[in-house]
Subunit: 207 residues, 4 copies
DNA sequence: AATGAATGAGGCTTCATTCAT
DNA sequence: AATGAATGAAGCCTCATTCAT
């Protein structure tokens, strides 16, 4: 399908990927201009369509590519031997942070793609996400040791609370960072904060 | 600024607002067509620009207008005498549901506006949201009775967990509804589920 | 449908029609350029699409318009009181010549449209032609006096021979004109030639 | 001129010719895509232009090639010893049918090429046709026995009527076939009909 | 105030042709 | 001879915005 593009010299591939990633992340699908992409990538108009046929296929290629890199990196780094969810969870947060630090543009693109309204791609994105999200959640929660939960606790819902707390904290910190002058997240502080919440939840749910 | 528009006969004002609300909610900022808006509102092309100068100002006027209506209705209905956060919170959820049911188009528009990437409006939206969100959170959490919390509990963070759990549950149900055949949220079921989580959290945090 | 265009000042309408007629007649549907049309008509790009939505609708409007003018003029001038086919036929040929002389561009366009391969419009043209051609033939042959035919003559086929002879002659003369230096048909000569054929056929088929 | 192409292995030559023939016949000159041709022929883009320089020369080479094959086959099969035009003519029709059945793609291409409006090739086609048509007509009518014609008959014009009748009938049947569900010509029926017309004309023109 | 014709820049996409390998 | 990546002009069409009436 995209063999023409994939057999390109890596340097050029990257130039095109980065240009497209950046343009889509900044402006969204509809507003992104293929003109800008080719200008930034320093290739001709025709060449982009030689590789990707049309704007939509370029976008979806980029999405699959980004998700692939992100997920591989992510799951490659998680230690599934940690069975205690309150220990695995901080680990996952750490790994996620590392991956974002390693591929910031890719992460930006994925986030932007999912805060997107363009009807042309909505279905295709949802199709891809449905599968990925459910399978990722399952994987991340796989093989959790539930023996540590206090008796009488509704374990399924307790786990949900743990997850939502983690997400909530992450979003809060992101929002704070946006408001601050630097726009940068202080990861060390976040992790420390994270530990406090974990302790709080441990007292609630564990024996 | 928009005095010309505001001194219009109310019926015509509404026609224009509804047409624009609907178009933006359905298609997003960039994809929305001023042509469709004037056709739906049954006014001339020139008139729209006579009132609002350009598309962006129309959109932002609509956003301010929507937020205003929504917030007024929302805060008008909340009973601030309920000081127990685990009781106020379900109340807030109920009120939110009522307001959404009363102004579905306005709510759709606000949601759509915030899942929007168009670079032309991103900054302006964020500017508006920054202020609103922080002040709303403060208001909703005002005057909470913390005497019920067990001793030794980190109250500020416990409240955060409560909030994030509520948000997490809401998002989960929205996602479920999207995947289901109807696409409709069963509010009664959600509220029942909500109660279970509240009980779980009460056992954790309260005396 | 095309009310916007039709309520234009006639001078501008004509400018646009002529420009489009000429471009399509010269280059065929696919090869014709809307860019050239607007340049020739001295209007902006957007305006053409404001009137006609897209290239195909412009073309089909032109076709219906051309056929309408041509047919009205044509049938308006034929004297249906002439019942003898060998007299009506030269009359028809004469009328056709007159109409072509009056609207040469329109005739050129109709001919060009029908020597056209573009798949985008083939169906629409055939749809229009099927109806027009059968009804025209019927009208032109309506009420013919067959009492003059010799007994034993297969009248239906004899009439076909008469028609095909007329068409054959007309095509031959057109081809000759194309080869000559002027490219112009000498109508007087053609009519004289026509009379000779009519006499020949009268001797064959009539009492 | 095309020596490079002609010194190719015949199998490859044929692959290219058939691919191009098919594409042009189906889509017309302008609409035909050199991309599709090279894909179908399984050669590289560059090679096509190495052999034919450009699209136009490819098309005209194909036209000359097709006409050459068609005419050779056609004239090779006609029995010029049949001197009676009313007998030679059905023979010619039969031969034409045989050749079309033998080389359907070539015939399709020739027909399509001549119902083509593309300005780039119009002149070149007309140039080629002018010569071919006049010389073919002369050849086909060569050495006709005119002694059978009744005295007083204008023989040259009578022959024209015979020719036009044959053409008229052929076109009528083609049009009928197009409208029918199958789109196929029933050759046996056409030939029977042909015989009726020949008898009619024999009674008119022959002693 | 109100209209809607008119603009023209910019959008995506196609395609014959070239050229380095 | 043979490849196919690369070009860029030209194609059709959209759309916010302006302006004469």
């Amino acid at each position: 399908m995209f063999s023409k593009f994939l057999s390109l010299e890596p340097e050029k591939q990257e130039r095109i990927l980065n240009a497209a990633l950046k343009e889509f992340a900044q402006k969204g699908y509809k507003n992104a201009s293929t003109n800008e992409i080719v200008k930034e990538a320093n290739i001709s108009k025709g060449l982009l369509f030689h590789y990707f046929n049309n704007k939509k296929e370029l976008f979806l290629f980029l999405y699959d590519y980004s998700l692939d890199i992100f997920m591989n990196e992510f799951f490659g780094k998680i230690d599934m031997n940690v069975k205690d969810i309150l220990k695995r969870w901080p680990q996952i947060a750490l790994v996620k942070i590392e991956v974002i630090r390693k591929y910031p543009e890719i992460f930006n693109f994925i986030v932007a793609a999912n805060t997107e309204n363009a009807s042309e791609i909505k279905n295709d994105l949802e199709l891809r996400n449905k599968e990925i999200i459910t399978s990722s959640y399952a994987k991340v929660l796989e093989d959790i040791d539930i023996s540590k939960f206090r008796e009488g606790i509704d374990i399924k819902r307790a786990i949900n609370i743990i997850i939502w707390t983690a997400e909530g904290l992450a979003n809060q910190e992101k929002a704070k960072a946006k408001l601050s002058s630097l726009g940068q997240i202080n990861y060390e502080k976040v992790l420390a904060e994270f530990d406090i919440y974990i302790e709080l939840l441990r007292n609630c749910f564990y024996k």
